[in-house]
């Protein structure tokens, strides 16, 4: 039976969505390694997908899909083993469009329609991140730092100093994990239909964690680095059935290791860590999203 399944990609700018798509396309098109899903046919902007995949194969940085344009890419795949065929629709939404949801508090009705179906969600976050919610409480012995810099303890001059350096708040200041919680909360409420969806959290740039304790435990990474999002997912299991995957589409640092990466067969550069994942198989999270539907 041919099932048409629409998966939705959610992810803020620079979260690795476009590079993932480039690597995924190569994996299922080149058929170099074992993958759970195999290519049947492609629909959509072929020029775009060819351009980004070409860059990826050459170990070049894949530019972000900037601007509010939506690149609708559909891939027909066969499920290895069962022979079931499915159409995977990836509205490659610009990360900027999700930032705009946060700041303008509105979304396109095409986004709403894409979530009306029976597919899952791939939520992209990056492991290669700066902490964007740092407070002065994170700084050890702040008062000592003040003394070293000659900051006056006098309240009046403190307020004057604060006033001079203070920037106005804007929606863009909201930390990424808070934005992601907001994006998920949006789709829990009308007019979005209330349903339980599978949600694959894709922690991209996983190669930066090679030597860390989390190297094989993406859920633990999420718990420690995006604690608010992790708690939210844990407590909303009636809406989201969650798996967390660590993925590196590039396989390493292009600036430091490009020559080494170029020696590998492209498919074998890919890193994918998580439940039921064959080595290098970026289709595993997509396969999980579509099984038991």
């Amino acid at each position: 039976m041919i099932q048409q399944i629409n998966h939705t990609i959610i992810g803020l700018p620079a979260s690795g969505k476009t590079t993932f798509l480039a690597a995924l396309w190569h994996l299922i098109e080149a058929d170099e390694i074992n993958t759970r899903l195999k290519l049947a046919k492609f629909e959509g902007n072929r020029e775009y997908i060819n351009q980004i995949t070409k860059l990826w194969r050459s170990c070049e940085k894949v530019p972000r899909n900037s601007g509010p344009a939506e690149m609708n890419i559909s891939i027909w795949v066969n499920e290895t083993g069962t022979g079931h065929q499915a159409k995977l629709n990836f509205p490659d939404l610009s990360g900027e469009s999700f930032d705009l949801q946060i700041s303008t508090r509105q979304c396109r009705d095409t986004y709403f329609e894409s979530l009306n179906g029976n597919g899952g969600i791939m939520l992209f976050v990056t492991a290669d991140r700066r902490q964007d919610d740092l407070t002065h409480s994170h700084l050890p012995m702040f008062s000592q730092a003040d003394a070293d810099n000659g900051v006056s303890k006098n309240n009046e001059s403190e307020h004057e100093g604060n006033a001079k350096s203070l920037k106005d708040w804007k929606h863009d200041d909201i930390p990424k994990q808070v934005k992601l919680v907001e994006l998920l909360q949006f789709i829990q409420r009308p007019p979005f239909p209330r349903s339980r969806r599978r949600l694959a959290v894709m922690v991209s740039a996983w190669d930066v964690l090679d030597d860390s304790d989390f190297a094989q435990d993406p859920r633990q990474w999420l718990k420690l680095n995006m604690a608010l999002l992790d708690q939210f997912l844990e407590n909303n299991s009636d809406c989201f059935e969650v798996r967390v995957y660590g993925v590196s589409a590039q396989g390493g640092d292009l600036d430091a290791s490009k020559e080494k990466l170029l020696q590998k067969q492209p498919s074998q550069r890919v890193i994918c860590v998580g439940d039921d994942v064959l080595e290098h198989d970026l289709t595993a999270p997509i396969h999980w999203l579509m099984t038991d539907l």
């Binding site: 740092l134 002065h136 604060n162």
Partner: protein, 355 residues
């Protein structure tokens, strides 16, 4: 060579996007033709505006767009709409200006950003933007040199900050909590008889009524007596006016105890003795007139980082979510005329009686 709807782009001649998009197909205007500049402006403006839409346009559709919740702190009407949908715990936080009301709210949000807190875990919030606005002066990216909390404006009226929480200990029950945030100036105006006590309606409706006593003032001899007098007088006024009674759970929280702890020797001892005496006096005078009277000492945020954020706030927060109900049932509640929608909060059934 391609075509582009941007009249300023020469991609057809140069092969390069004037806005730097690469690949070209990623440009929203590439490959499109526009007949006039007005259509280009429409394309550029569609979804590109970053102006905040101030009016809540939840569920409204405007020209291909769907409105989303604002995420701001709730006003009275929005809070009442919420209560129609789900029961809540209402925690009314009361105190003079700079007693630490907003800082207390911030530190709880700060802790949930890092993980579970007081055996509760974050399950969602309708007011994340409200929290984030308040957190701005804590964050390094604000550019501020020394952490601060923005003073709540009298003009803002009352605002409600919302947490939806799960219990870490495995109970599947979700608890929705509203924390009130109102300018201390309002409470001062009511104390001075300038404003009507009925305007601070959250006092009568609260599951927990939390008075904040400014520990920084307590640690200062010249300000100590007035600081405690303010709490005592507010409590007496609320009891005398009948807005709180034997159904009310009252807490007196001394904030900024980092200021007291920084005192040395006899000064510190003397302050703690003074506090003990004050708490004992409140107990003797008011304990029999309310459901319960408890005391806490906390440091929400020590600017000098000698105390961790939310020091002892976990015990306070857990007490807000305990299952203690009012000692006496609400008499004659069925006879209350519900003139305003928000009167629903007056008619709220205690949570323990909800099946």
């Amino acid at each position: 060579m391609g075509i582009c709807a941007n009249p300023d782009c020469n991609v057809g001649e140069t092969g390069n996007c004037s806005e730097g998009h690469d690949p070209l197909a990623s440009c929203p205007f590439y490959g499109k033709e526009i007949e006039n500049d007005q259509e280009y402006d429409d394309l550029e403006d569609e979804g590109a505006s970053e102006d905040v839409i101030e009016e809540d346009v939840n569920n409204s559709q405007k020209g291909g767009f769907i409105g989303l919740p604002s995420g701001e702190a709730l006003n009275e009407h929005q809070a009442n709409d919420f209560v129609w949908r789900r029961p809540i715990r209402l925690i009314a936080i009361v105190g003079e200006q700079d007693s630490g009301k907003s800082t207390l709210i911030n530190c709880i949000y700060f802790k949930f950003m890092q993980g579970t807190f007081a055996d509760y875990s974050f399950a969602g919030s309708d007011t994340l933007v409200g929290f984030e606005r308040r957190m701005h002066l804590w964050r390094i990216k604000s550019g501020i040199k020394r952490p601060d909390t923005k003073r709540t404006s009298l003009a803002d009226g009352i605002q409600f900050l919302h947490f939806s929480l799960g219990n870490v200990k495995g109970d599947d029950r979700r608890i929705d909590v509203f924390l009130t945030d109102r300018s201390g100036e309002k409470y001062r105006r009511v104390m001075d008889g300038i404003d009507n006590i009925g305007e601070i309606f959250e006092i009568a409706k609260a599951d927990k009524l939390v008075f904040l006593l400014d520990g920084a003032k307590v640690s200062t001899p010249a300000k100590r007596a007035n600081a405690t007098a303010s709490v005592r007088q507010m409590l007496k006024l609320f009891i005398d006016e009948g807005v709180i009674d034997k159904r009310t759970c009252v807490q007196v929280v001394t904030t900024k105890i980092d200021c007291i702890e920084k005192l040395e020797g006899d000064d510190k001892v003397h302050v703690y003795e003074f506090l003990s005496n004050f708490e004992r006096q409140l107990q003797d005078r008011f304990e029999q007139q309310v459901a319960e009277l408890r005391f806490f000492k906390v440091s929400a945020r020590d600017p000098d980082n000698h105390f961790e954020p939310a020091y002892h706030v976990d015990d306070l927060f857990a007490s807000w979510l305990d299952s203690r109900s009012a000692v006496f049932p609400v008499p004659g509640i069925e006879d209350l005329p519900l003139r305003r929608q928000f009167d629903l909060l007056l008619a709220r059934t205690p949570m323990e009686n909800i099946p």
